[in-house]
Amino acid sequence: MIPELGHFALMLALGLALVQGIMPIVGTRSNDPVLMSIAGPAALAQFAFVAMAFTALAVSYVTSDFSVLNVYENSNTQMPLIYRLTSIWGNHEGSMMLWVSILTFFGALVAAFGTNLPVVLKANALAVQAWIAAAFELFILMTSNPFVRIPNAPFEGQDLNPILQDPGLAFHPPMLYLGYVGFSISFSFAIAALIEGRIDAAWARWVRPWVLGAWMCLTLGIAGGSYWAYYELGWGGFWFWDPVENASLMPWLAGTALLHSAVVMEKRGALKIWTILLAILTFSLSLIGTFLVRSGVLTSVHAFAVDPRRGIFILGILVVFIGGALALYAWRAPLLKQGGLFAPISREGALVFNNLFLTTACATVLVGTLYPLALEALTGAKISVGPPFFDLTFGPLFIPLMAVMPFGPLMGWKRGDLLGAAQRLLAAAMLAALATAAAFALEHGGPMMAPFGVGVAVFVMAGAVTDIAERTLVLRLPLRAALRRALGLPRSAWGTTFAHFGIGVTLMGIVGVTAWGSERIAEIKPGASLDIAHYRVTFDGTFDRAGSNYRDVVGRFTVHRLNGELIGNMQPSRRAFPDRNMATTEAALMSRGVNQLYISIGDPNKDGSVPVRLYFKPYVLMIWLGAGIMFVGGALSLSDRRLRVGAPRPAKARARGVPQPAE
């Protein structure tokens, strides 16, 4: 009964989405406030019904209702409750349900909290949001219905792919989806602005919190996925330039650009047309990501089932939405008035530089990801574009961006003082030079460029600190006065500092682990040991351990410093899942500051020896730590007073030419 209710609720949601997608548009065309006001309640109701459908699916999973095909295929009574819940999105149908749930959730948020939005903008934006929702609800109902029943319910379900039975997966896909789908709001607002043919600085102020929220979730989602791949796949890599990873990186790059161009638009009223285009492109890249991951074009752990109809359907959605949006853009964008003059050397100029490099870097990732698909479709040749391609293209574009980043916040609006900024960054630059020299002196091996990478990373971090030091005058005023200034700073200023500092931390981690990481691969017998970096790792032997739905063969390793000091134990294992006749590698990690020791083992041989992969990963934790700091920066910025209470009321927004508060 419950699955049927869920199915029915989803159909009703589709109906409501159609109402929400058509009526408000008719209303804005005919200037009918009643029709326009339908949008809000419809969005709320649509979310309620989608939430009902999602809950119905969740209930089926929790109660292990194996008469539902989707539950039977992906769940099992032996699995702990948490994995029964996460297996909802560990499969195609369920993950699409999650997608739509988040999409309608955002629509409902706009409806509920967008009380001071202009009526026309809100009506149009919610209508666009409803088109997207309708398309995906139709997709689920027609090709990926999660509520399909099996006539004779089996007693026990199959299992979730063991590699997905992991805490990392509980959190990675929802975060990623919050990011992907969060960009739908800026898309809807951009389309609404184009439909209306009018846009102003206030638009950027309304849209920015949504972009920021989506960007924060995407940042955490990507970092979480990267950490999951790092410890679960047993290879110790944090980023593989896999198309599926690229699919999440591209919206992040475009979204980061959007975040910055929206600042220019909000403060200075410039870059309007460009910001609109970025809003469209960012969500388009999210859609392309969904298509790449879900259509089965790419075979990977994420491609749950290959059904050509699904691929074609999503491709259709893609063509209609991206093509439609860009066509609308080409037609209407010339109507939008440009404003806000600025010199090339200025805060705006720096943000344009940021946008230029971010979007170009994004384009190289897109080319590298799609080229093999295009080539195969056109000529039939099968190629792979691997990490070397991205190292050679993405790297050279990203490093200049990093090096210039600290200058941005120190520039004035309209006309900046490059020399002045350089002077204020002198301390940061000296610190960076010092770090480079230290890296040359202390670290051995690795590429020649690596110490310079460290220098750039330190420059970014120190530059972020410089910015905040300049604003608080911490070195010139007495501490108390500086502290008072620090508390008085807008939180968005702290947000910028944190986010910029965070990317520096991440860069440092990437440079460090790539350049100076080391590995040992060997087959060792109990009692034997391997040396790596400053550590000696001794293999003590294996023992068996039973888990809820798996068996472990655990290898016991003791770690000493080379000088003999005992540090601790590590217990990597081979985990066998009898239900699927499948084994996974459970790596053991030991953190030493921001460095990690990493061990994964293979199946033991008959003589008791095991194949061992032993890695020393210097600085590796900084990669994800930096992402966490970026998230905090986003959160600080999101909690800024002007976004909480200062969103301009329509009356104020109409009075143009009011000077924006200087910052």
Binding site: N161, I163, L233, G234, T299, S300, V301, L341, F342, A343, P344, V352, F353, L356, F357, T360, A361, A363, T364, V367, G368, Y371, A381, K382, I383, S384, V385, G386, P388, F389, F390, L392, T393, P396, L397, I521, A522, E523, R580, N581, M582, A583, T584, T585, S600, G602, D603, P611, V612, R613
Partner: protein, 158 residues
């Protein structure tokens, strides 16, 4: 600067960055693209020793020999042609005889493929698409591969 000059500076800067990016990409495409070949392709196309390729097919039943120090040797087949492969390291979790595999590396002069990377991806239903296509092409695709992969397989992972 006039408005026009400013705009030109912006556009010029944008084009310059794009040009650099295109240059970087073309350069990278020249050096870092790896072609996929089935064993038959390797023979028919006379792939030069030393060229980096991906070799994909099935691990021939009974061909896996484990040597000392994690050296392994096995044969990759597409039903028509077999190519011996050597690899040093830990094989992926899903590496099995009779299953699909993709190896990346170079051929040596004696026709042995020295792999430095072995991909047998994360999912047990995963038959690399390239491998499936290559098998279909050589006429050795059986519909039961997909089913067989989805079913529990006897024999275990060793």
């Amino acid at each position: 600067m006039t408005r026009k000059q400013r705009r030109l500076t912006l556009i010029g800067g944008g084009l310059a960055v794009l040009a650099v990016a295109v240059g970087l990409m073309l350069n990278a495409f020249r050096d870092s693209i790896v072609f996929f070949n089935s064993p038959s392709d390797v023979v028919e196309k006379h792939v030069e020793p030393g060229t980096r390729i991906r070799l994909g097919g099935l691990v021939k039943d009974g061909s896996l020999v484990r040597g000392n120090n994690l050296n392994v040797r096995f044969e990759v087949t597409d039903g028509k042609t077999e190519i011996p492969v050597t690899y040093t390291g830990v094989l992926p979790d899903l590496f099995r005889e009779g299953q699909g595999v993709v190896a990346e590396g170079t051929l040596d002069g004696g026709g042995v493929f020295n792999a430095d990377t072995i991909l047998a991806k994360h999912d047990e239903t995963y038959m690399p698409k390239e491998v499936a296509d290559a098998l279909k092409k050589s006429g050795h695709w059986k519909d039961d591969y997909a089913q067989r992969a989805a079913m529990p397989i006897g024999g275990g992972s060793k």
